[in-house]
Amino acid sequence: MTILQAQKIYKSYGNKLNRQEVLKGIDMEVGEGEFISIMGASGSGKTTLLNVLSSIDKVSQGSIQIEGNELTAMKDQQLATFRKKHLGFIFQDYNLLDTLTVKENILLPLTIQKVSKKAANSMFQAIAEELGIYEIKDKYPNEISGGQKQRTSAARAFIHEPSIIFADEPTGALDSKAASDLLNKLSEVNEKRKATIVMVTHDPAAASYSSRVIFIKDGQIYSQLNKGGETRQSFFKDIMKTQGVLGGVHHDN
C-alpha cells in the first residue's frame, strides 16, 4: 500500500529575478513499511526534497499525498498536528534545543501524547541505552560531541513511534561502529514496527541497509535500485556502481 505519493513536484528558491530551481518535476511513491534511501551529490536537492515530503517546506508546484491526505491543501495548523503525531525527524544539523538536556530533548515528542511519566521514562531508558547515550542524559547539547548529538536526534525521532521517519544524513557524524548500530536500529524499527523510513545519505554502506535507493541529479530522479532478494554486500556494490556513473560527490553543475 502506498503511504506517500509525490507527483510532479517542483521547488524553487529566490525571487523572480534571481530564481534557482532545485526540484524539477519529481515523481515518487513510498509504500508502507518501505525503507528508502535518497542519494545524490551535495547540493542536488536531497534535503529540499525531504523537507517538502515531510511538510516542513512547501512545494512550488505539484502534489504530495500522505495516507491519502493532500499536503498542499492542508493548513499550517493541520500540517503541524500531522507532523507532531505521525512523523519523526533526524535532521542533518541535529536540531537540538540548547536550553534542554539530552533527556528533555528526547522526551519532547512524548509530551504532546498522553503518555504517563513512568512509561515515558522506561521508553527513554530503552532507547537511550540502545543508542549508547544514557550516560549523558543530563548534559546540554553544547557539552556533547557531534555523534552524540546525532544519536540524541535519532532517539527523539524514534521515541513516539511515528509511522514515517525522515532522516537526513543520520550517520554523517558517526564512526562506523556507531553508524552501523544506528542503521541496525533503523532496520529493526522498519521491520518490527513496520515504520516507513525515508533517509538521505552520501554513504553507500548506509544506503545498502535500505530496500530501495533513489538517485537524484539536477533536481530530477536519475535512477532507482531495488534490493529485491540481493544480499547487502551485492546491493552495496550495485549502489557503488551507480554512484560511479553519477559522478560521485561533486558540486552542482
Partner: protein, 647 residues
C-alpha cells in the same frame, strides 16, 4: 577590502540591524538634554527659586545621569554581544584585538555622536512640550519662550562623552576577554545546570529573604521615634537600601533558582512545551537574568516610591489646605473681619460670616496619649490647648463632664495616637475640670495658625467653656484673640473677593485666603512633582526598554529553537503560550517585588509628604503597572513575529 571599507559597510549594516541601540541613545540624549535645558532656562529660576527647587533639580539630574548611564551601558552590552560572531570572524581572519577594537570604536563613535546630535535636536523640541506641562501643573504663567542654551549643550556633550568613555572601556574589556572559540559560542552556554543545587544555594536564597525582611523592618522603624535609629538616620537609610537590594539579588540568585531547580528536577526530563519555553529558557540565562532582574526591581521600586510620594503630597494638598484654613477667608482679628465683611457688602458679594470664640487652657493629656508622646517634645501633663464651646458646632452636643477633640491635622495624627477613651484635665488659672474624653471628630472650625499648627482643639459644653474662659491663665494668652471666618456664597465671586482681600486685609499678618494659599502650595509642589514625575517616568521607560531589549535579544537567540519546535510539529499557538508564561515571569516578578519594596519604602516616611497614603499610592501603582505592562505586551508581540518567521 580596506579597513575603512569594512568600517563603512559595518556601519551601514548596523544602523539597520541595531536600531534599538540607536533608539536607546536618542531617547537618553533627548531626555537628558530636555531636562538640562529646562534647568538652565531663565524662566525656571522663578519656579525653582520658590522653594529649594534648585536642589531637587540637581539631585534629579544626578539620578538621571545614573539611570541613563546604566541604560546605555546595558544597551551596548546587548549590542556587542550580538556582534560577537562578527568579532570572532575578524579574529579568525587574523585581525588583532586592538585592530578590531579600533574599528569598532570608530564605527561606534560615528553612531554615537550622530545620535547625540539628533537626540539634542529632539530634546530641544520636547523640552518646550515639557515646559507646557509644567505650566499646567504649577499654574505659573509667566514663562517666556524657551531659548537654546549653550550651557545645556555643553553639559550634555560632556556627560555623554564620559559615558562614551565607559562604553569604550567596556567594549575593550569584552574583546580582551574573548577567545575565538568563546566568541562563536557566546550564546549557547547554559547558566544554570540542573542537578547541581547545593546546600549553599538554599542558604543564599534564605539569606536573601532574611535581608529583605530585615530591610523592611528597619524601614518601618525609621521614623517611629526609636532614638538610636533617629540618631543615625542617614546611616539607617543606607542600611535599608543596601540590605533590600542585596537581598533582592540573592533572592533571585538563590530562591528563584532553587525553586526552578526543584520544579525541573521533579519533571524528570519530561517537560511540556510550555515549560520548555518558559522554565528551561529562563534557567538557561539564570545568572545574567538575576542581575538584570535586580536592577529592574530596584529601579521600579525607586520609581514607584518617588511617584507615590510626590502624588501623596499633591493629593493631600487640597485636604491639608481645607484642614488648615476652614473658611474661604480666615481672619484673625475681629476688626479686620468686620471690615472685610463690610467691604464685600459694598461690592454686593454675598457671604456668610462665622465668628468663633475660643480660649486657651492647660491640658493634662497623659491618660489619653500615653507617656511615649513625650518623645515628640511637649509636656503631656501640661500642654496649652485651645478650647471652644460645643455651641459652635451643630453636630456636637456635650454634657458638662465630656469633651471631644476636633480640628486636628491629619499629618500630626499620623505620628500622635490618641487612646479611644480616657480622662482629660483642663484647667485655667485656679480651677481644674476633669473631663471624659469621647474621641476625635473630623470637624474644622479654626485655622491651624491659631492652633499651633494643627494640634487638636478641645470642645466642651458651653458652661464649662465659660468657666474656663473666665479663669484663663494670663501666662498662656494666645497670640491671636479672635477669629472670623468668611465664606463666599457664590464661588464665582472669588476673583473679585481675592482682589479686595489682597488690597486691604491681607497685609495684616495672620489673615489668610484659602484660594491664595492653595495656589502658593501648588506652585511650591509643582516643581517637585514635576521633577519627581519626570524621573519616575524616565525610570519606567528605561526599565521597560531594558527588559524589552533583553527579550528582543533572547527571542533572536532562541529563533533556532522555535524553528526546531515548529519542524517537530508544534504550532505557533503552542509556542506562544509558553512565551506568555515566560514574559509573565520576566516582567511580573520584578514588578511584584518592586511594588512590594516601594510599598514599604513609602510606608516608612509618607507622613512627611501628606496625610493620605493608601489612595494616592494605589493609584500610582495601578498606573505604573498598566504602563509597564505595555512593554510586556510589546515583547510578546515581538516574540510572535519571530516565531511566525521561524519556519
Amino acid at each position: 577590502m580596506t579597513i575603512r571599507q569594512l568600517i563603512y559597510r559595518n556601519f551601514k549594516k548596523n544602523l539597520a540591524t541595531y536600531y534599538l541601540y540607536v533608539f536607546a541613545l536618542l531617547f537618553s540624549v533627548a531626555l537628558y538634554f530636555a531636562f538640562v535645558t529646562l534647568q538652565f532656562d531663565p524662566s525656571m529660576d522663578e519656579t525653582a527659586g520658590t522653594i529649594k527647587g534648585a536642589a531637587a533639580i540637581k539631585v534629579a539630574s544626578v539620578l538621571l545621569i545614573a539611570i541613563v548611564g546604566v541604560f546605555l551601558l546595558y544597551a551596548n552590552t546587548l549590542f556587542i554581544k550580538r556582534r560577537s560572531k562578527e568579532i570572532g570572524l575578524y579574529q579568525l581572519i587574523g585581525m588583532t584585538r586592538r585592530q578590531i577594537f579600533n574599528m569598532l570604536s570608530v564605527e561606534n563613535m560615528l553612531l554615537y555622536f550622530t545620535s547625540l546630535f539628533i537626540g539634542i535636536c529632539i530634546g530641544f523640541a520636547i523640552s518646550r512640550f515639557i515646559l507646557m506641562i509644567l505650566i499646567k501643573i504649577t499654574g505659573i504663567e509667566a514663562i517666556a519662550n524657551l531659548h537654546f542654551s549653550t550651557d545645556a549643550l555643553i553639559q550634555t556633550v560632556i556627560v555623554f562623552t564620559i559615558i562614551f568613555g565607559f562604553i569604550s572601556l567596556m567594549n575593550w574589556i569584552f574583546i580582551r576577554h574573548q577567545s575565538i572559540l568563546n566568541l562563536f559560542r557566546v550564546r549557547s552556554k547554559t547558566e544554570a545546570k540542573i542537578g547541581k543545587v547545593s546546600f549553599f544555594q538554599i542558604l543564599i536564597g534564605i539569606l536573601g529573604i532574611a535581608l529583605i525582611a530585615f530591610g523592611y523592618y528597619v524601614s518601618s522603624r525609621l521614623f517611629s521615634g526609636d532614638a538610636t535609629i533617629e540618631r543615625y538616620l542617614f546611616f539607617a537609610m543606607l542600611l535599608v537600601l543596601a540590605s533590600v537590594i542585596l537581598g533582592t539579588s540573592l533572592f533571585y540568585k538563590g530562591s528563584i533558582t532553587f525553586i526552578f531547580f526543584l520544579i525541573r528536577k521533579k519533571k524528570g526530563g519530561y517537560l511540556s512545551i510550555r515549560e520548555v519555553l518558559s522554565l528551561s529558557s529562563i534557567m538557561f540565562r539564570m545568572k545574567s537574568n538575576a542581575l538584570l532582574l535586580t536592577i529592574i526591581t530596584t529601579v521600579s521600586a525607586l520609581a514607584i516610591g518617588l511617584l507615590s510620594l510626590s502624588y501623596i503630597s499633591y493629593y493631600s494638598a487640597e485636604k491639608t489646605i481645607y484642614e488648615a484654613i476652614p473658611n474661604d477667608y480666615a481672619i484673625v482679628s475681629h476688626e479686620d473681619g468686620m471690615a472685610f465683611s463690610a467691604l464685600l457688602d459694598d461690592h454686593d458679594i454675598a457671604h456668610t460670616t462665622t465668628e468663633v470664640d475660643f480660649t486657651i487652657s492647660h491640658a493634662d493629656l497623659h491618660d489619653v496619649l500615653g507617656e511615649h508622646a513625650e518623645d515628640f517634645g511637649f509636656k503631656v501633663n501640661d500642654t496649652p490647648m485651645i478650647v471652644v464651646s460645643d455651641k459652635n458646632i451643630d453636630t456636637i452636643d456635650l454634657q458638662d463632664n465630656d469633651t471631644v477633640f476636633i480640628n486636628y491635622s491629619s499629618s500630626i495624627m499620623n505620628i500622635l495616637t490618641f487612646n479611644d477613651t480616657g480622662t482629660v484635665q483642663l484647667s485655667g488659672k485656679s480651677d481644674a475640670h476633669d473631663l471624659k474624653y469621647q474621641g476625635l471628630e473630623e470637624v474644622y472650625i479654626l485655622p491651624f495658625r491659631i492652633t499651633s499648627g494643627g494640634f487638636p482643639v478641645a470642645v466642651v459644653s458651653d458652661s464649662v467653656f465659660h468657666e474656663l474662659q473666665a479663669d484663663e491663665d494670663p501666662d498662656l494668652e494666645p497670640f491671636f484673640q479672635d477669629f472670623v471666618g468668611i465664606d463666599l456664597k457664590d464661588k464665582a465671586d472669588v476673583d473679585e473677593a481675592e482682589e479686595l482681600f489682597h488690597q486691604d486685609i491681607s497685609q495684616y499678618a495672620g489673615n489668610e485666603s484659602r484660594t491664595a494659599s492653595f495656589q502658593y502650595q501648588k506652585e511650591n509642589m509643582g516643581i517637585t512633582m514635576f521633577v519627581v514625575g519626570f524621573l519616575g517616568l524616565t525610570f519606567l521607560v528605561t526599565s521597560g526598554c531594558i527588559l524589552y531589549f533583553k527579550q528582543m535579544g533572547e527571542s533572536e537567540e532562541e529563533r533556532p529553537n522555535y524553528t526546531i519546535l515548529r519542524k517537530l510539529g508544534f504550532t505557533t499557538k503552542d509556542l506562544l503560550t509558553g512565551i506568555k508564561r515566560k514574559q509573565l515571569f520576566n516582567f511580573g516578578i520584578p514588578l511584584v517585588i518592586g511594588l512590594c519594596h516601594s510599598y514599604f519604602a513609602v510606608k516608612s516616611g509618607w507622613f512627611f509628604f501628606g496625610n493620605e497614603m493608601l489612595t494616592p499610592t494605589v493609584i500610582v501603582m495601578l498606573i505604573y503597572t498598566a504602563l509597564y505592562s505595555i512593554f510586556g505586551f510589546l515583547s510578546v508581540l515581538y516574540y510572535k513575529k519571530v516565531i511566525k518567521s521561524a519556519l
